[in-house]
């Protein structure tokens, strides 16, 4: 459709068919960059950087819930693969601990969070630019993105210089950013972006609407009629509070707005020519290392935020002492974060457990009351090792842990319709696969294995598997109803889930090192029904 007044040649007609949208300016994909990484001291092979699919143990250990909670609200960063890839090297763990420690420093953490916000806005601007048709709008969003990016990088570089991080990871980034900011290319980008933003912010224009036309002009000193009217009516009471500038949901403009904007560009031809040139010249302004750092830093920030949810409730995390050679385990005040999180919703606290494996001790055999915290303990054991291997703080007051190569789990599968023999066979196949994967550095969690067969069978099979695990030297937990398993030699530690002696219906969720003793459990149930000897004597009249 023709524009009657014929816009000038210099400006594309807002009413002409839209020009093909310029290539969407999306942020550089978070590919491993040439620059330093804040996650690894040495860039590991891409295969070891974690895959999108979670390790098999995640479901059994409720680690899927944990990682979902950690990464909540950060989907854009694609953080999950980081949490799927345990480290195999004690130094790599130390590398991450250093960064976590640095982030305990308020100014550094604030600087990183601010940087993340800046880049998030940058991405929003670029995404919006991709959705808009009007070139003047696209250019402006691109400019604002570049402007915000420059400011963010400059501020982060300054913060890193001022706060002198101690971690190798942040020191490498600090050095990289210092060089980037000092480069003439960055300087030119920043200066030009700042100039254009300032001039665009400062300009104003006048629109005159009549029934069938709108014309645009420079503002002279036309009186503010809004203010004049407000002054007159102020006598009756304060004017309505300025509605908080309703942020337009979309920046999209209709054809009239576009027509006006096209004419505004004619009022300021040089400025808008410069804006166009900026778009051409700095089409790809985002540094890939900066982009990668933005993503990787989220690993730490996300985990920190997750920890804070517990710390506010008095449940602390600690930096575990990690060894790749010494299998001693010393954990004090450990809790299952997945369970704790659901308890905290109801203002309840989880019970914290102390756990230790010393000398030749390798495997806990856990027996005792149902719902007494046995499975929770098994999960906790696996979680501690996995989180420690991620280089993260662990949910405990203090912890010394072995750096495991993998956590393998064997949990009872959901009931299915298969015949018992089929089920047992299936279970044995799974156990065999587990044993094939396990190494001397693995952590193995067995939960109610072979419960589908007779006790004699279960005892026999369990003993066989346990012997294999002991031979491998794995660390592990075996939750079972078979008391006899708990007495299998020095490498076995027997734990018993307790009930409250005063109120046998209440589980304590505490586990005690003691020989397995099925009767303790039976007595508790009897007392709950007032059928102990003493109770019966009293009820019957002594």
């Amino acid at each position: 459709m023709p524009d009657h007044t014929g816009p000038p040649r210099t400006a594309p007609s807002p009413l002409a068919p839209p020009s093909p949208p310029s290539p969407p300016a999306t942020p550089a994909p978070p590919e491993p960059a040439a620059g330093p990484s804040v996650l690894y001291p040495e860039p590991p092979p891409v295969a070891d950087r974690g895959s999108a699919s979670a390790p098999a143990c995640f479901g059994d250990l409720n680690l899927d819930q944990v990682i979902t909670a950690i990464t909540a609200g950060r989907d854009a960063y694609g953080l999950r693969p980081f949490f799927h890839a345990p480290l195999t090297d004690v130094d790599a763990v130390a590398f991450r601990h250093e960064v976590f420690l640095d982030l305990e420093d308020e100014p550094l953490r604030t600087a990183l969070e601010a940087f993340a916000r800046t880049l998030r806005h940058m991405r929003e601007h670029l995404e919006q630019a991709g959705t808009l048709r009007d070139v003047h709008q696209q250019r402006r969003l691109h400019l604002d993105a570049a402007h915000g990016y420059c400011a963010g990088v400059t501020r982060l570089a300054a913060a890193l210089r001022a706060n002198a991080p101690r971690s190798r990871g942040l020191r490498l980034i600090a050095r990289y950013l210092a060089a980037l900011v000092a480069s003439s290319a960055f300087d030119a980008l920043q200066a030009e972006a700042a100039r254009l933003v300032r001039e665009l912010d400062d300009l104003s224009y006048l629109m005159t609407f009549t029934a069938d036309r709108v014309s645009v002009a420079l503002v002279e000193d036309q009186a503010d009629q809004d203010a004049a009217v407000a002054r007159t009516f102020a006598r009756f009471g304060p004017p309505p509070r300025e509605q908080r500038a309703k942020r337009p949901v979309s920046l999209a403009m209709d054809r009239i707005e576009a027509a006006i904007l096209a004419r505004v560009t004619l009022l300021y031809p040089e400025l808008f020519a410069a804006l166009e040139a900026f778009r051409e010249r700095y089409a790809e302004f985002l540094d890939p290392t900066v982009a990668a750092f933005d993503r990787e830093a989220q690993f730490y920030l996300a985990y920190r935020e997750y920890m804070q949810g517990f710390e506010r409730a008095g449940l602390g995390f600690c930096y575990p002492t990690v060894s790749a050679t010494d299998k001693t385990l010393e954990v004090v005040g450990a809790f299952d974060p997945a369970l704790a999180r659901s308890l905290l919703v109801d203002d309840a606290r989880p019970v914290c457990n102390d756990v230790a494996l010393r000398g030749e001790e390798r495997i806990f055999v856990v027996t005792g009351a149902n719902q007494g915290g046995k499975t929770t303990f098994a999960r906790l054991f696996g979680q501690l090792h996995f989180l420690a291997a991620l280089g993260c703080p662990v949910p405990a007051r203090t912890a010394t842990l072995f750096l495991t190569d993998q956590v393998l789990t064997h949990f009872e599968q959901e009931e299915d319709a298969r015949a018992l023999r089929g089920k047992l066979q299936d279970e044995l196949l799974r156990v065999r696969a587990l044993l094939e994967r396990a190494s001397g550095r693995s952590v193995v969690i067995m939960n109610e294995a072979f419960s589908s067969t007779t006790t004699d069978d279960a005892l026999l099979l369990s003993r066989k598997v346990l012997e294999r695990l002991l031979a491998l030297g794995v660390l592990g937990v075996w939750v079972t109803f078979i008391d006899e398993l708990a007495a299998q030699g020095d490498a076995i530690v027997s734990l018993v889930a307790l009930v409250d002696p005063d109120d046998p219906t209440r589980r304590t969720f505490e586990l005690a090192r003691r020989p397995a003793d099925g009767r303790a459990h039976a007595v508790a149930i009897a007392r709950a029904h007032q059928l102990t000897y003493e109770e019966l004597r009293r009820v019957l009249g002594a």
Binding site: M1, T5, P8, Q137, F209, T210, S215, Q225, F236, I256
Partner: protein
């Protein structure tokens, strides 16, 4: 209505207001005040149920009321003017005011023209009548009207309304925000301010030049409905602020007229009630409000105005002398005027604390921080076992709001159980309340309760701040409705009845 603040028509009523309304049969009183006007009824109801607590505030209202009683036609004129002004713009839809600024401005101009007209009339009325009024309330109001609503000011408003017709088009300045979308739109005067002759000339040339500068103008192609709408929308966005300012001003002015209407409605209601009582020949008097701590409550010829209004003739009055009396126990024959009496006490208190005249020949009372009624609920017979429960729960709710000096009217309370238990409950409650300074009027058949108080209060029944009143029946059975100061009589009808019915039954269990 208040020396300091506006009378508020919405918002919660004090606790127990509904019960008080029912127990004291305020409906009759309110109907007499309303004289068929629903709005007056609502205002009257609210004024009666939301008592003033400060004698000065009561006197302020009494003074205004005296002015009103002397100039009824002015009260009526103010009420009518306020009502008509509020009702007139209502025909347009208020709802869409905010949605469309262009429509909003047009609509607001119409409404404001109505308001300006009403302001002129109000000022003329003030100029004409102000001298005949003496009360601070009316004087403040008339002064305000004459001071604020001058011709010059009203002309200023009209000038704005004229400009907001936009005969030269809508002129809006703006800046570029995120994505180069327009922000900070400001409505501008259509022409630049007059400067020197030279700059004026220069601008005119510029303007003319700009007009022909086709490049800077976008003209709607014909028959482009959608585009025309978009153009109007963009223009209207420039009107958002002024539309909001006008809507805000309308809200304020409307609130002014609503307040005027509510306040005059109250006094109009008072005029109606005075007219009804005067026509019956029933006495009324302007009571004397006293501070709460003085503990005074006395009057002559106190009657229940609702009874008089319903009966269409003056009601029997009682004198009340309850200064420094913490507890008045009213006993005696059924239908002998006990409930009527306790109602007349409650109504007098509410009328006094609403700033109204009182149904009595003379009355003087301390204001009560709160006023509560606890009457037996006849209609709660559905759940017999829950009845005492219900009563006690209601009592518990009331207790939370009682303060020293509060007035509590009990009518057959705690009778939902046997007499001994009821008496014990009553004793404990009443004792606790009177000790903290709550003033209690208690109509009761609980002999045990009444007599135990009488025995412990000395021979005359007047010690300890306790008074005993008794409804009586003449020997021939006729009722006088007058209460006399007299000790509670032992009534043994119940026991007799029991004997009469169970005499033959030797195995009858003791109740």
């Amino acid at each position: 209505m208040h020396p300091e603040r506006d009378f508020v028509l919405d918002g919660p009523l004090p606790a127990g207001a509904e019960a008080t309304f029912r127990d004291l049969e305020l409906r009759t009183l309110v109907a007499a005040m309303a004289a068929g006007d629903g709005f007056v009824a609502e205002v009257a109801r609210r004024a009666l149920l939301d008592p003033l607590k400060d004698p000065a505030a009561i006197e302020h209202r009494q003074a205004v009321l005296r002015d009103g009683l002397a100039n009824p036609e002015v009260v009526r004129a103010l009420y009518d003017l306020a009502g008509a002004t509020i009702e007139r713009p209502k025909r347009s839809s208020w709802g869409s005011l905010r949605d469309n600024p262009g429509y909003g401005v047009r609509h607001s101009r119409e409404v404001l023209r109505i308001f300006v007209e009403a302001f002129r009339e109000l000022r003329r009325l003030a100029e004409r009548e102000a001298e005949r009024f003496e009360s601070a309330g009316f004087n403040t109001f008339f002064d305000l009207v004459q001071r604020e609503l001058t011709d010059a000011y009203l002309a200023e408003i009209e000038a704005h309304l004229h400009e907001l017709a936009f005969r030269d088009g809508v002129v809006v300045s703006a800046r570029l925000g995120p994505g180069n979308k327009a922000i900070d739109r400001v409505l501008r005067a259509p022409r630049a301010r007059a400067g020197s002759a030279w700059t004026r000339l220069g601008r005119r040339l510029q303007q003319r030049f700009a007009r022909v500068d086709a490049e800077l103008t976008f003209e709607l192609p014909p028959r482009e409905e959608k585009l025309a709408r978009a153009l109007a929308d963009e223009r209207d966005r420039g009107l958002e602020r002024v539309a909001a300012v006008l809507a805000g001003a309308i809200e304020h002015i409307l609130a002014f007229f609503q307040a005027l209407r509510a306040e005059t409605a109250f006094y109009l209601g008072c005029l109606h009630l005075a007219g009804r009582l005067d026509a019956l020949g029933a006495p009324r008097c302007m009571p004397e409000p006293r501070p709460s701590h003085e503990g005074l409550r006395a009057g002559a010829g106190l009657y229940d105005p609702c009874l008089a209004l319903n009966a269409g003739r003056p009601a029997v009055g009682n004198d009340l002398a309850a200064d420094d009396v913490a507890l008045v126990i009213i006993t005696g024959a059924n239908q002998g005027g006990k409930t009527t009496f306790v109602r007349s006490v409650g109504l007098a208190q509410l009328l006094l604390q609403a700033g109204l005249f009182v149904a009595a020949r003379s009355y003087r009372a301390s204001v009560a921080p709160t006023i509560f009624t606890h009457f037996r609920r006849e209609e709660d017979a559905t759940m017999r076992r829950g009845k005492l429960d219900e009563e006690l729960a209601r009592m518990r709710a009331i207790v939370a709001h009682l303060r020293p000096g509060s007035l509590l009217l009990l009518n057959e309370s705690f009778a939902a159980t046997n007499e001994r238990e009821g008496s014990e409950i009553a004793r404990q409650i009443v004792r606790a309340l009177t000790e903290v300074g709550v003033r209690v009027f208690f109509v009761t058949h609980l002999d045990d309760f009444a007599r135990s108080h009488y025995q412990s209060s000395g021979d005359q029944g007047s010690g300890d701040g306790v008074r005993f009143l008794r409804a009586q029946r003449e020997r021939d059975g006729t009722r006088t409705f007058e209460l006399i100061e007299a000790p509670p009589e032992r009534t043994s009808h119940g026991e007799d009845l029991y004997r009469a019915i169970f005499a033959a039954d030797a195995a009858a269990p003791e109740a």
